[in-house]
Symmetry: C2
Subunit: 819 residues, 2 copies
């Protein structure tokens, strides 16, 4: 058969090419601007963060009364319902994974048969461009649906969702991230984008889906659907909800990769600094149920119930225990050295390149493609280009392979190959990417032509890079694995060309390459190693995988941050990394404290409260409650802490001293009222307080947390380091001491400790002289230093960078008030 390029063919290709050129030209604008100032880009799209999660129960009188009323049996029941919720989370997550998998398989199969028939029709007679157009249109149509629902209905459902979940587990409440609507859009979106042939995976979105399921199930109600099942009411608070969300994320990982332990470690790596045995055990349970549910229902779907061979959406297939072909001592050692050198550095470099390209692309998108219809069009363009590129590569490739070498090719395409052969390039593009990864790992030596692999790597690399960040729900795991497996296998094939022997079959090199590429892009370490070990199902590969991931991370980190971190940063989320920035060692507490302290009296005028809450310049989320001395000379004494959300509930229910006196029968406010308002507390503006009511008084004693975290004040002459970072629950509380007038001590953050400013005011134990309120809506404008304007300026220059923009090197994305 001959390849004939008709006029029509070339014109179609030309049009697509022009579209690409146009976009590239647009992006060049960025490069052209000499004094380009990225901060504005970020600031323009910076939406104020609602608030942070409240990781500590407010142990006020209501809370304690409830705890006291609760019997031992009550605590038992709670514990059991936690387990039930985790089981449900796992089950539903597994079901969703199963649904996505089946839908994708059906749609892909449908598409393949349509296109294959068409291609076969035109292969002989020419005019393959019709097939191309058909393919491109089909893909674009799928992607259009996926992009429209994401761009118009729920933009937060775009991307893999892992950055968002990382942020959530890190303690940042990103609006709408765990809502039902997000889940629906996510699931539908990922089906569309994978079926649309985009260079994406369906694994990342599973993690987000699991988290949403968890957030929904654990609350026993749906705020969106306005349906309250009156169950699990106890869990309606940030502390409990976050635990379940970590379980959901773990269940998602577990379903995606068949890696329950990896899921647990993912949750721990992203979420925890406190190891709670029972919680971990529950998370593990959710993960187990999740992978089992997926496995079971897929086996039912495959008409073979009980043949549990699909623990995850992707299976690496089983590798044999014998890592090497030759069994000589020096070979084993040198292979381990080579593994690191062949796998890690290229993985790190390519990963960094990928991330850098994607960073620039994302900035371009933030700047120019922020209208939903543009986003949809871009997604469709990418889909069309992906189809075209794939088509061109299939068209020009001569990678014919005999059909019998590979057992179980689902989508063999003969094209110009001889009978009994198939085009391996076509297979790689037509297959579900998961299957292609498996093939690269397990096909016998000789299944792939080096050129095919090389071209495939390059094309796929750029396509994947272009695709990530589109307004579609899609993950980057599978493309990374595929790119890595391709170049890994290429290295494995090429080694004998150089005067080097081949020590392991190319499939092993493909595995190493896949791990390196993935590690180079996402930079997860511990959990990724375990995920890969579980996916390969062989502990023998643990050490090489670990070494490769480590070197890839080290090499990659030298050039560029991880992909998720980049996207988190571009969303201007005050993400707190697990390690304090090295320069923070000498940052003193005094420098990050605000003054004067915004505080309330124990019995406070309603008007004062409303004014303070409405004041946009002091919109903290937590306020100290103090007892002033009668003469007002001595500084006020701290007696508790009250949250904005609590005050709003109090105002809404008009819990005023005067009203309580007049209506004796008035129902006492209970914890239930706070729970009912959770998690969508109304803004202060929506609460009407009449002029009369403004003069009423509110007694905060019952509702404040009488034991907020504080740091003691050092005695006057000790030039000691005051604040310690306490590790609490999943995050470090940053305790700040206040200082009395005569104190000369100043605080300092001990090196190597986790640095986390928090919503809660941090105050001296007895005397308030400063407070640190961070992560509140207007993080950027509400930090003052106690002393001088110079210090303020200094602080804004230093700490905003430190806190917000960790590891910022050359890119100066400082979002602050200074110029």
């Amino acid at each position: 058969m001959t390849k004939t390029l008709t006029m029509c063919d070339s014109s179609v290709v030309l049009v697509l090419f022009c579209m690409v050129v146009l976009q590239i030209k647009g992006s060049k604008l960025i490069w052209a601007r000499k004094h380009w100032n990225p901060p504005h880009v970020a600031m323009k799209h910076l939406k104020p963060l609602k608030s942070s999660l409240d990781y500590d129960n407010s142990e006020n009188q209501l809370f304690l009364e409830e705890e006291r009323r609760m019997s031992y049996l009550g605590f038992r029941c709670l514990e059991i319902s936690r387990w039930v919720v985790c089981g449900l989370i796992g089950f539903l997550t597994g079901l969703i994974a199963c649904f996505i998998d089946i839908m994708v398989e059906q749609l892909t199969g449908l598409k393949y048969y349509v296109v294959k028939e068409n291609i076969e029709k035109f292969t002989a007679g020419g005019g393959l461009s019709i097939s191309l157009i058909l393919w491109a249109v089909l893909n674009s149509a799928f992607v259009m649906v996926g992009a429209i629902i994401v761009a118009f209905f729920e933009p937060i459902a775009g991307g893999s969702g892992i950055p968002q979940i990382k942020c959530y587990l890190n303690g940042v409440k990103i609006p709408r991230v765990v809502r039902l609507k997000t889940l629906l859009v996510k699931v539908a979106g990922v089906i569309c984008s994978v079926a649309g042939g985009l260079v994406v995976g369906k694994e990342g979105p599973m993690i987000h889906s699991g988290a949403v399921v968890a957030a929904g199930v654990s609350q026993g109600r749906s705020t969106s659907l306005k349906r309250d099942f009156k169950i699990f009411e106890y869990f309606r608070r940030d502390t409990e909800k976050r635990d379940f969300v970590s379980a959901g994320a773990a269940a998602g990982v577990s379903a995606a990769f068949g890696a329950p332990v990896g899921g647990v470690l993912f949750s721990l790596e992203e979420a925890a600094s406190y190891w709670n045995q029972m919680l971990t055990w529950r998370i593990f349970f959710a993960s187990m149920i999740s992978t089992f549910t997926l496995n079971f229902f897929l086996s039912v779907y495959n008409k073979n119930p009980g043949e549990l061979s699909n623990p995850g959406l992707i299976n690496f297939g089983s590798f044999d225990r014998n890592f090497l072909l030759r069994n000589r001592l020096w070979v084993v050692i040198s292979v381990f050295v080579l593994t690191c050198e062949c796998g890690g550095p290229p993985g790190g470099l390519l990963g960094a390149l990928f991330n850098a390209l994607n960073y620039w692309l994302t900035i371009f998108r933030i700047r120019y493609i922020h209208r939903p219809c543009l986003q949809v069009m871009e997604a469709m363009l990418v889909a069309a280009v992906t189809a075209t590129v794939s088509f061109i590569m299939i068209y020009f490739s001569n990678a014919c392979q005999p059909l019998d070498v590979v057992q179980g090719e689902d989508y063999p395409l003969q094209l110009y190959c001889d009978d009994g052969e198939y085009n391996s390039m076509a297979t790689t593009f037509f297959n579900r990417p998961e299957k292609s990864v498996q093939n690269l790992f397990h096909n016998p030596p000789g299944s792939y032509h080096p050129l095919t692999l090389g071209v495939f790597t390059i094309t796929y690399f750029f396509l994947a890079c272009w695709t990530y960040g589109l307004a579609v729900s899609a993950g980057v795991f599978i493309p990374s694995l595929l790119i890595g497996a391709a170049w890994g296998r290429l290295i494995g094939i090429m080694l004998p060309v150089f005067p080097l022997q081949i020590w392991a079959d190319p499939g092993k090199y493909a595995l190493i390459g896949a791990a390196a590429q993935l590690g180079g892009i996402v930079r997860m370490t511990l959990s990724l190693t375990v995920i890969l070990i579980e996916a390969t199902g062989n502990v023998t590969y643990g050490l090489p995988l670990m070494l490769v991931l480590m070197t890839a991370k080290i090499v990659g980190d030298y050039f560029e941050e991880g992909l998720y971190d980049i996207h988190i940063k571009l969303q201007s989320v005050p993400f707190v990394h697990s390690e304090a920035p090295p320069t923070s060692h000498w940052l003193t507490a005094r420098e990050v404290m605000s003054s004067p302290v915004t505080s309330f009296n124990r019995v406070e005028r309603v008007g004062t409260i409303v004014d303070l809450l409405s004041n946009t310049s002091t919109n903290h989320n937590g306020f100290p409650v103090v007892v002033s001395n009668a003469n007002g000379e001595e500084p006020a004494k701290l007696c508790g802490l009250i949250l904005r959300s609590q005050l709003i509930v109090l105002l809404k229910h008009k819990v005023f001293v005067e009203l309580a006196r007049s209506k004796l029968t008035r129902r006492k406010l209970q914890l239930k009222d706070f729970r009912d308002a959770y998690p969508r507390f109304p803004p202060i503006q929506s609460i009407h307080v009449s002029q009369d009511e403004r003069e009423c008084m509110m007694d905060l004693t019952e509702f404040m947390n009488p034991t907020p975290y504080t740091v003691p004040q050092v005695s006057a002459r000790t030039h000691a380091l005051v604040p310690h970072c306490f590790f609490f629950n999943i995050l470090a509380f940053f305790f700040l001491g206040g200082w009395t007038g005569d104190s000369e001590g100043f605080g300092q953050i001990p090196p190597g400790r986790k640095l986390l400013p928090w919503t809660q005011v941090c105050i001296n134990s007895t005397t308030i002289t400063g407070c640190l309120v961070t992560r509140c809506p207007s993080f950027y404008s509400n930090i003052w230093v106690t002393q001088t304007p110079e210090k303020t300026a200094h602080f804004l220059r230093q700490s905003t960078k430190l806190y917000l923009l960790l590891k910022e090197k050359k890119k100066c994305f400082v979002a602050g008030q200074h110029e």
Copy 2:
């Protein structure tokens, strides 16, 4: 062939039988005593605990100066050396595992050939008792060596070592537990006891070995060998050392079971409440290196380097993905229900029975067999009895199996079987138990006769129970697995006898049984599941294993504690469980505080210090440093915390104000001096202070920790709950507030939080009115309550129980001052 019992045979059996009867009679004494009072038993053998580990760096001026001097590069180097140390730990642990494995194999092989030849000689002619005696003597000889070195040289090396490591990671410094001598005795002991045919495993001791290796390597010196390599000096402190010991324990688990992830989780489960990503990553690295080293060197030993098929000392062999034989939907579901019901409860029950029997046996041992020579004799007796019982069972069994059914029987014994057959019972006893476990898992249906399995289970159960707690180094993992696998397989075989179908092959039931039995005995949950998943190498088995372990634990916990917990309790270690006892919810802080507070002034008279340190009634390990007001009316203000060990170093170096003035050139005390004294600080009695020196003054400012953990005092009128439990590093710090005279607030431990009294004094931020000093040498005598004698009595009745004897139900092992 006929079985002939000669006169000689029966007499030998009789003598052994009598010995057993005598021991049983002795143990009956315990039962006979009506008002038996176990406390005395425990108290008699209670050696004072040295102290607890110091989990917080004392951030005094010396420390801070050193940190300040350290460059960024210095911190980098430290980090790198931590990795190097972890790599070394993993490597050495792997080597030790390899050494033990090879030695055991060689010695067992030797023994087998000697005995086999002898048996074959006497099989035909009768007089097999000669063989029995030979066997018993051989075994006893091995065990004697093992028992002698343990009983006479290092008793702490006895048993599996897991309870000791649990305690160490829990924060209790048990003397000599991580010394070189312990390691040597442990390794030699475990080789002897396994080679001696005792019903023991070599897996448990690996964990202890790994921990010792870690403690040794990380310090860069050997105090026992008096050799200082002048490296890793920075790590000579409790905080760093403990981290390495957790890595060592993980490496041990990893080498024992080929389960690196399981090892990490073991460490976390036992050691951590704080999740430190870098630390976990390093622990994982050590585990990986450990399993790889073992794997590699075993492959070299097996003349097949690179064929890495031995990741652990025990391999379960590979299970297929298909858990079930029948693939019907309802079968799958009902099997999962059955799994829990067939596996969990019997496992839990048998485990509880095992633990209860072992508990009584251990008390008997503590009471009557505490002299080393008696211990050696008991060990020899057990060895002889084990040999005899095995022999009798082999003798009377007709479990002949054709030789070709099972491939690779290392030790087939023909005995009275036909040619081409072998005695499967003999194989079970002669094999290394690891191999027997594998056989039970993987031999095809029909390999075992149900009666063989039943008798084997019962015999092995009692032998294992008798053996654990002997003065030999040995673990209980393998015997548990073997017992469980035997009855699990029995259930699997018996199911078709009842009108129940067989749904899975008996090997799967054996696996479930093994997990259940092990879970029922040791009651580890999370880590054990992961270890078993890794050992089976198949994630599909995760859910059933997890369910079985959970039910086994729940059922077992209802009757009796876990084996390790029992032994920890019998050693009277103040072990702090991960959950607070339920009754502690209403325990107030005031009740556990001591008064008057033993404190020092910032500049204190040497005589006062020496007297206070020597005073046995106040032998706390941490002391508040205070600044008294001039007039003495106001309460003293806290300015720091100083440890007993620091004071001792200061006294040793005579850091007195007067001397500093007289000798200006005197070298300033550095952190190095404290490190050199670590970890074996001399007792105060060994430090000579002359009468003149007693009048000198000591300035503690430089050496005290100026920021000890405290809890603020609440304002006078808030009846608030003061103390929070803060989670710090691996354990919860129990912060106690002090109260000023006018305060009516009192403290209370919030429910569900970890309750941990600590060595450090817990004091009010400004004013000291009480302190809690626990886990100090005389834990039992040094807790007073602040207020009244009634409260003291009450407290001693309540809290000692609470703190020390968690979950004590009927057994009243209260070691306190009350009657």
